[in-house]
Structures are given as C-alpha cells and as structure tokens.
Symmetry: C2
Subunit: 352 residues, 2 copies
C-alpha cells in the first residue's frame, strides 16, 4: 500500500495516516490477494512437465524488465498453426469437409462436375479416390468452392455452415473441437502483452469468421492461405471485394515465415505447430534474437483424440505430418514436443 | 465526482460525506481540468474550417458511446496513403530518388546497364527520357534495386540512405518532409483508440524501417507494394527471408482496398489520400457502415510546398494525380478536400 497512499493523500480525500486497525485490515486483504494470485494456475488444463514449465518460463523471462531476455510489449508476437495445433484436423481438415459439402451442394449448378475430377469423386463420395487427391486436386476444390462471390458472401456461407455442421465422432460443432490447453496458452500470452496470430495453411477467409469468437483473435491477426481479391463495383455502384478463382498466398511450409514477415515484419517470439508444414515457422521464430519458444503438438492420444503420423510409428496421413525427421530436429534444436496424452489434462473444454 | 465517490467510500478509506469546504475545492479543480482540456487543440497546425471540423466531428461521433455511429475500439482503423498525403512526393517519390541513386551506385557491378533501358537513362541522368518512363520501367528499377538480398539487408540499405540523403529544395532529410498536420491527425486518432495504417503504393520494405520513428506506426501496420519473399537458409543453416526479383502486391488503385482487406479484414473507418491511386481506398472506406471519413489532400500551395495536378488547373504529373474527375467525385460523395494552402497553418514541424 505504501506506493499508492501518497497519490490518494494528494487528493486530500483521506487522512494522511491510517488508523492502526485499518492498516492491519488492509495488510490482511493484500496478503489474501497475493495468495490467491499465486494459486491461480494460468494453464489449468496442462499437467506439470517440461512443456508447461517451458511456457511459464518463456513468459517470465520475456516480460520481466530485469531479465536479459526482456521483450518490449510492442514486439511480443506469438503465432499458432491451426489444424492439428489449436483444433482437431483428423481424419480430415474441417475446411476440406466444408469444401466437399459445398461441392455436393453446388453440383446441381455444375453438371460438368459429374464427369470431371476431382469433383466427381467428391460427389460420389469415393473414399479411395479422395485418398489419392493431389495438392492440385485440393486447390481446384478450394477455388471452386471459395470464389466467385464477395468476401462478405463467402464469410456468411462459412459461418452458416459452421453453425449447423457437426463432426461425426463427437457430434458437436467443429468450433467445439478446439484444444482447451492451447486456448489457455493464447489467453495467458495475451494477458502478458503478447499478440496472438493464427498462421494457417487453411484459408484466411474461412478462419476469420469464427476466430474472434472461439480464440479471441481478431480478423487482422489471421494469416492464412489466401485467394486473390478483386475490387469492383456492385449494381448500385458501391465498391465491393470479389474472390476471383486465383490463389494469392499458400501459407504452408516456407509460406509461413514469408507471410509472417509480410504481415508482421519480424520474427515471432513464440511459434506453435504440429507438422512439417509448420517446421519453417518454428525455425524462423528460433532465428530471432533473445529467448524464443517453439512447440509442436504430437497426436499420441488415440483414446481422447487421435494418434497418427510417423513420429508415433504410424503411417503418414494426407493431413499434417509429424515425421521422424521433424521429431529429431525438434529434439536437437530445443523445441518442445507436446504430448497430448501426457501433457494435456483435458483436451476439450466440454470434457468431463 | 458523484459517480466516483461511492467506490472510494466502499473501501472505508474516506469519510462517507465530504466536508463542505473540501467539496468546493474539488469542484474548482474539476472545472479547471475541464477548461484545460477544452483549450488543448488536438490539431494545432490546422486552420479552422470544414476539414478540421470534419475530423473532430468524426472522432466525436465514432467514440461517444451514446452516439448512433459509435464504433467499438477493436474496429477503429484509419488508413493513410503516404506519398503526397503524409509526406512530400513532388517532384519525385522519395523511394524513386533512392532507387535511382542505388542504380548509379550499383552500375559498376552491372556493366550491361550502360546499354539497357531504363538503367542507362538513370545512369546518364537523362531527365527527358526519365519523364517518359512507363510503369514497367519503374518496376524494373524497383526490382533491380530492392531484391537479391535478405529483408534485413535491404532494411539497412534504406535506413542508411535516409540517414544521409537530403532533399534538394529544403536540404533536409526526407523524413523531415512529413506533414505536421497529418501527423497530428494520426496522433489524435490513436489517442482515441484508432489504429493508424500506412497504405502506400511505395514499398512496404522501404517504409517499415522509418515509419515507427517518424509516424509512430509499427511494422505490422504498414501495407504497401511488396516484393515476394523467399524463405531459405544462410551458410550457417539459419532460416532467412530473401527478396527474389518478383512483385507480390501492387498497392495502388484497386490494390489498396484489396490489400486492406488482406491485412485488416474489414473496411477502414477513415481513409486519407491525395490522388487517383487512393480513390478506391476512399470509396471502400465509405462503403463501410456508420459514419466514415474520407479526405484528399490538394497540393495547392506553391509557396510553402508545391502546386500541381489537374484539380489545380495544372498539368498531370507522373506521380499522384488529383484529376478533375476525382475532385468532382469527392464533392459529390461528401469527401473532404484538404487545401494545403487554406487548411494547414503549418506544413512542416520545423517551419517558423
């Protein structure tokens, strides 16, 4: 209280000396408040261990003004991959599920799709063919389902779909499938002056409509793969932004550091990923100065979520691949591997 | 004071009723504070007039919670063109002056330039030829002088040049040629919760190195024309971002709303420009909901700065062109034309 009293005293609102009894009461209140603060775990869904300790340490050394690794608030940036890092990506990216459903919905308007790959396989629900889709096939599907409308119209389509679609395993909205421990990390970083960004291979235009609500991340902090934009005029002469059938940014692999620099203009201090598509982002974070934090989520919990990928001795999947080489790089460079099974006490907020 | 007293009283730090004498003292202090606030003009370099009033009104109606046009703080964005809007662009963009000097500096390493346009004209200082340069010529020069190095190396080259180069008219660093009235608008908007962005046809990589210092605008709020980026590894295996010889974004004309959406994800509430290259940005601001503000700087002060462009009945220049059509659009749409001659009391901070 010593530090605050002179200010209040200046206003002549309170006596310059507090009665002894009142001082004791204030002291007790203060001690109780400090004790409560010490007991509040900012990461309650994390088990104690190297990963949790690393996050707490990172925040401590970069926000303590007496630390040699102190980072001024305006330089505190943390970047998060989305699919497989902040929400479920298995067995298929949510945006691909959405795109496939869009293809089926739009099929009546595109009779030619019935005889054109990759659309006919999607319409027929041919799983074997879909498993063999190339990157170009996915891009064709994204372009066909995400373009030819205004940015607002696409945002509404995405929002409407997310409001009703349910995942087949938990029968919940896809936005319920975010990882509670990662949400806590985001909130903890923000409480300590960090700006949190999504840096996703998924579409910026798909993520923006829900990111504020589910992650607390605003549109200007969503970096992602992006369709080109085309400014034009509507029938009333009002300026509108259309989505032409053309990709502008591919925010995977080396696209992640490239787009981070385009948007932010510096290395992030902390980066979170789960696959080779995030490797360059983590390397780029580590190439910055001072203390940095790099973490990779290992999907090793078949019971509560999924176990997949070579780092678990399991086959690679078409989605994010956590290779043995990436695992070895992580270990050699001091990146932290987050074991969903061991490090996360709770995976979803609604888990019992 | 009535609103604050109950809170303090709750703490039992002060008597529940103030002595009459003390109440009078507080009232006097409060009135003095309010009077001081009223006297502090947030835009001291502006003359009274429609433009200044428009800025003050815009801030008032978008930040007053009781206003029907109230804008929540997280949605307050203002975008500023740079050349001709926040600093001098005449007779040549500063970045072009820089690029021409780079061409001359690099000429020894490029003997082929002596026989290649547009480089040979720049090396020879052939003004007549330079006046006929096409957009492609300028792009060739930008690419030749801005690429083939890391982003950090380019930033250092730009910073070093700006630290020593002086403009030929005022013999001052180019960064001294920012308009004090626009700086005041930026500061006033920021003081009212707005995030200020530069949205420039100039290079993002050229502007970022000085924007924090001269405008108070951080790297992540600089949108501009942009060279593509290429993530690769240096000799030590460290991840670095190179600038390959390829343009990614052309942040002029319709590129401005397109890039604003890419970076911010929404309409700006306020937009400031000075030429047809900014027209679409201003239209896009106005296409947003609620109260918006669109302003265009008219260069009509030959004595203190420059007078040029068709809106002054003068010939178009190769740089930003304020056409009669743009002037008419401004008038018909309620955009404010800022007359440098009449609206600005002072143009530069160092003016006597």
């Amino acid at each position: 209280m010593q530090k605050r009293l002179p200010q209040l005293a200046k206003l002549d609102l309170i006596p310059r000396r507090l009665p002894v009894r009142l001082s004791w009461i204030l002291l007790v209140v203060l001690c109780a408040a400090l004790a409560a603060q010490a007991q509040t775990d900012p990461l309650p869904s994390w088990n104690n261990g190297a990963a949790k300790t690393a996050i707490l340490n990172f925040v401590r050394v970069t926000t303590d003004q007496n630390s040699p690794n102190y980072v001024p608030p305006d330089q505190r940036f943390a970047t998060f991959d989305q699919d497989g890092t902040t929400w479920v990506e298995h067995p298929m990216y949510t945006e691909i599920v959405f795109s496939f459903e869009r293809v089926r919905e739009l099929a009546a308007q595109h009779p030619e799709w019935k005889t054109t790959e990759p659309f006919n396989s999607v319409i027929a629900g041919d799983k074997a063919a879909i498993e063999k889709f190339t990157t170009k096939d996915f891009v064709d599907i994204i372009v066909a389902t995400h373009t030819g409308m205004t940015v607002e119209a696409f945002g509404k389509i995405a929002r409407d779909w997310l409001a009703t679609a349910k995942d087949p395993r938990w029968h919940r909205p896809y936005t319920d499938l975010i990882y509670q421990p990662m949400l806590e990390v985001m909130q903890y970083l923000r409480a300590n002056g960090y700006r949190t960004y999504i840096v996703t291979g998924g579409g910026q235009g798909f993520v923006r409509p829900y990111a504020q609500e589910i992650y607390g991340i605003p549109p200007e902090q969503i970096i992602g793969s992006a369709i080109a934009l085309k400014y034009t005029y509507d029938a009333a002469g009002k300026g509108v932004l259309m989505k032409p059938p053309k990709m502008l940014l591919n925010d995977n692999f080396s696209g992640k550091p490239e787009d981070i620099y385009l948007f932010i203009g510096r290395h992030p201090e902390a980066a979170f990923g789960n696959s080779t598509g995030d490797q360059q982002m983590l390397e780029y974070a580590q190439a910055g100065t001072g203390a940095t934090l790099e973490m990779i989520v290992l999907h090793d919990d078949a019971q509560r979520e999924y176990a997949y990928g070579p780092a678990n001795g399991l086959p690679a999947t078409e989605v994010g691949t956590f290779t043995q080489a990436l695992y070895d790089e992580a270990k050699s460079k001091g990146w932290f591997v987050i074991s969903m099974k061991n490090d996360w006490k709770r995976i979803f907020s609604w888990e019992k």
